[in-house]
């Protein structure tokens, strides 16, 4: 399809669908398909011409389309407790239904009725524990259930900053191991030339992503932070392809033009600006957004989309290792607070909303201390609310509304 003339949002939908279609076609034509953790390095597999699928993004889409409960039920019947991350449960439930279909030729009713985008089963999986440790067991289980190879990029937690050289060296060693595994899986030598090109492409995507997010510094803001949540699909799934770069550039150009013409995300209605700490509540995205918007509160800060600002020097594996371990939730509290402080400052925020996400323990358990530390520095009011990234049961609409209204009262 011709993409000329498409705006940012149209390109997002177009390229997201294209990536999904490419994965399905890859499977049919015998190209390898890899399921990947969202912040695992994509560069190695893409350099080896492997089609990538991202279960976290897939699960988020299912959650947003209200399709999570059926798949959560499948996972729970398999023995996964409700305390397990809902991205993992949705994906393990989906995988189970796909696997049964592949084994029996019969499609389960839950799969037939699911609003989930159809994705192919993987030939290999790749994970990285730079955003949580659930990803290790989750992907090990996928690999065991499907009898496919599992590439693990083990990244040490950064208890102190800056990142030590021995830590970077260790991660470079992990990259070497991943390359060796890929050579064995693909039965051919690793393509270092293509790898360098993919690294360069990834950096161009990341630069446009940073440019887009940076537009929230303007007051009033031309960009509503919830749009970044939606555009995240491409920084996750397409950052090593030109699709992400093209889409972010187009959208950022549009917003810059809007800014010049005095067109803002909330028109004349931007009253207060907040930072949203944590993952979106995908099954209730509309409610969370509208509750804020109705109060004239725009989200202009979030460290979550910033996790994909993976800036490094192409050709320098040590620099790439540093980028993939510098994720703010893979660092000590002091650094996490500092990162969040920068997000709040650059978004010119008046308050902070902390998502106590039942799924993401790593992002949520430190919220209380993070909030206290940050308030000592900036004195800004904050509230926290209970929710979940994909399990709709862990969110209360009235509770969210109360907290947003109370935050607005404190920001007055």
């Amino acid at each position: 399809m011709e993409t000329k003339g498409m705006n940012g949002k149209q390109l997002l939908a177009h390229y997201q669908a294209q990536l999904e279609e490419e994965a399905r076609r890859a499977k049919k034509s015998g190209r390898l398909v890899c399921w990947s953790a969202s912040v695992a390095p994509s560069e190695f597999c893409v350099a080896m011409d492997i089609a990538m699928v991202y279960p976290e993004t897939h699960a988020a889409g299912i959650g947003a389309r209200k399709g999570a409960p059926d798949l959560l039920e499948v996972a729970e019947k398999k023995g996964y407790a409700q305390d397990v991350c809902s991205y993992a449960r949705v994906n393990l439930g989906y995988m189970e239904l796909l696997k049964q279909q592949a084994l029996t030729g019969v499609q389960d009713e839950k799969l037939a009725n699911s609003p989930a985008v159809e994705i192919p089963l993987p030939d290999l999986v790749i994970t990285c524990n730079n955003i949580c440790n659930t990803l290790l067991k989750w992907y090990e289980n996928l690999a065991k259930e499907l009898n496919v190879p599992c590439i693990v990029i083990d990244v040490p937690f950064n208890h102190t900053m800056p990142i030590s050289q021995h830590s970077k060296d260790y991660i470079v060693g992990q990259f070497g191991e991943a390359i060796a595994q890929l050579e064995e899986i693909c039965q051919r030598p690793f393509d270092y030339d293509k790898f360098y090109q993919v690294q360069e492409q990834t950096q161009r995507s990341v630069a446009e992503w940073a440019r887009l997010a940076g537009l929230m510094r303007h007051k009033p803001s031309p960009l509503n932070g919830f749009d970044l949540f939606n555009f995240m699909a491409l920084i996750v799934c397409g950052r090593s392809t030109p699709y992400a770069e093209i889409t972010f550039k187009t959208f950022a150009d549009e917003l810059e033009e809007n800014l010049e013409n005095g067109i803002y995300a909330f028109g004349e209605n931007e009253k207060k600006r907040v930072t949203w700490e944590g993952i979106a509540v995908w099954p209730h995205l509309g409610h969370t957004f509208k509750t804020l918007k109705n109060a004239g509160t725009i989200m202009t800060g979030s460290a979550y989309p910033g996790m994909w600002r993976l800036e490094y020097t192409p050709g320098d594996l040590s620099s790439m290792a540093e980028a993939y371990t510098r994720i703010y939730i893979n660092t000590c509290l002091e650094y996490k607070v500092l990162q969040l402080q920068q997000v709040v400052d650059s978004g010119n925020c008046d308050g902070i909303l902390y998502h106590q996400n039942r799924s993401c323990k790593l992002m949520s358990l430190l919220n209380v201390e993070t909030a206290e530390e940050l308030q000592k520095r900036n004195g800004l009011p904050y509230v926290s609310f209970d929710g979940d990234q994909t399990d709709p049961n862990n969110y209360g609409a009235a509770q969210f509304e109360l907290r947003v209204q109370a935050l607005n009262e404190m920001m007055e």
Binding site: Q356, Q375, P381, Y382, V383, F385, D386, N394, G396, A398, Q399, L402, Q405, A406, E409, M410
Partner: protein, 270 residues
């Protein structure tokens, strides 16, 4: 000038009529909350009691869980802001409020002007709330207003979970089956509520002037448990169930004054 505050909670509806932002004209409580006839009944009762008409109210502010469903209200504020204002009316030096209502338990920190500085509250969990107390009263076949009587006679308070109301209910049933005295179990239930509320109020020593409000603070057993937990005396708001509605009525008065001042200002400029 009359203003009205109405607090529509999960288990009760409260109304306050105030004259000139300072004089309590009437208060009313109906023990049934949002989604029921409670809000309409409390409005009807307070108007009949005072002989006033709804049109006599210069402003009506609604608060509480059902604040957006009360049509006669001119505006809505959160119960957090209203509790801060209402408790400040009774205790100017209050810097910390513990509000234990039917469904929520909150700790609200105030600045020197009585504005909300920070608040913490329970999330999707009934532990430590009035609803929890109601469930326990039913399990033990002791009326809510009799629980204090039993608590006073406890000799060896039982341990009751403060992390989950459902687990706590199972615990209490087991304790009853094991023959523990109701007096001791009830003291344990009160301790469980105190523990939840004080955990929200803050870590370490709480030195600020503290006010206790919300329907549950009418239970002296809970008050004693909180005092024991904090190792200090606490001040219980007079009429602790209506402090939210009172705050709403004060805010209604202040809003009217602000609007009048704004109009005067504009007139002078014009």
């Amino acid at each position: 000038m009359y203003t009205m505050g109405i607090d529509i909670g999960s288990t009760s509806s409260k109304a306050v009529i105030l004259q000139d932002g300072a004089q309590l004209v009437a208060t009313e409580v109906v023990q049934i909350g949002t989604g029921s006839s409670g809000p309409a009944r409390v409005l009807d009762t307070i108007l009949k009691k005072t002989g006033l008409d709804i049109g006599d109210m210069a402003r009506i502010i609604a608060t509480g869980y059902g604040r957006f469903t009360f049509e006669p209200a001119h505006h809505q504020y959160t119960e957090i802001r209203c509790q801060a204002k209402g408790n400040n009316f009774f205790c100017r030096s209050a810097r910390l409020i513990i509000d234990i209502g039917g469904q929520d338990v909150k700790a609200i920190r105030l600045d020197e002007k009585g504005n909300v500085k920070q608040f913490f509250m329970n999330d999707k969990c009934a532990a430590g709330t009035g609803r929890f107390l109601e469930v326990m009263s039913r399990v033990m076949e002791v009326e809510i207003d009799q629980m204090d009587y039993y608590d006073e006679r406890a000799t060896d308070p039982a341990t009751v979970s403060s992390t989950c109301a459902v687990f706590a209910e199972s615990e209490v049933i087991s304790q009853l089956a094991a023959g523990l005295l109701k007096e001791n179990i009830i003291a344990g239930v009160h301790q469980s509520i105190a523990s939840k509320a004080c955990a929200l109020a803050g870590r370490g020593v709480i030195e600020d002037e503290l006010v206790l409000c919300g329907g549950v603070s009418k239970n002296q057993g809970v008050v004693r448990a909180i005092e024991k937990e904090l190792n200090r005396k606490v001040f219980v708001a007079p009429m602790p169930q209506i402090t939210g509605a009172l705050g709403a009525a004060i805010l209604a008065y202040e809003d009217v004054l602000k609007e009048v001042a704004l109009k005067d200002n504009e007139r002078q400029k014009g």
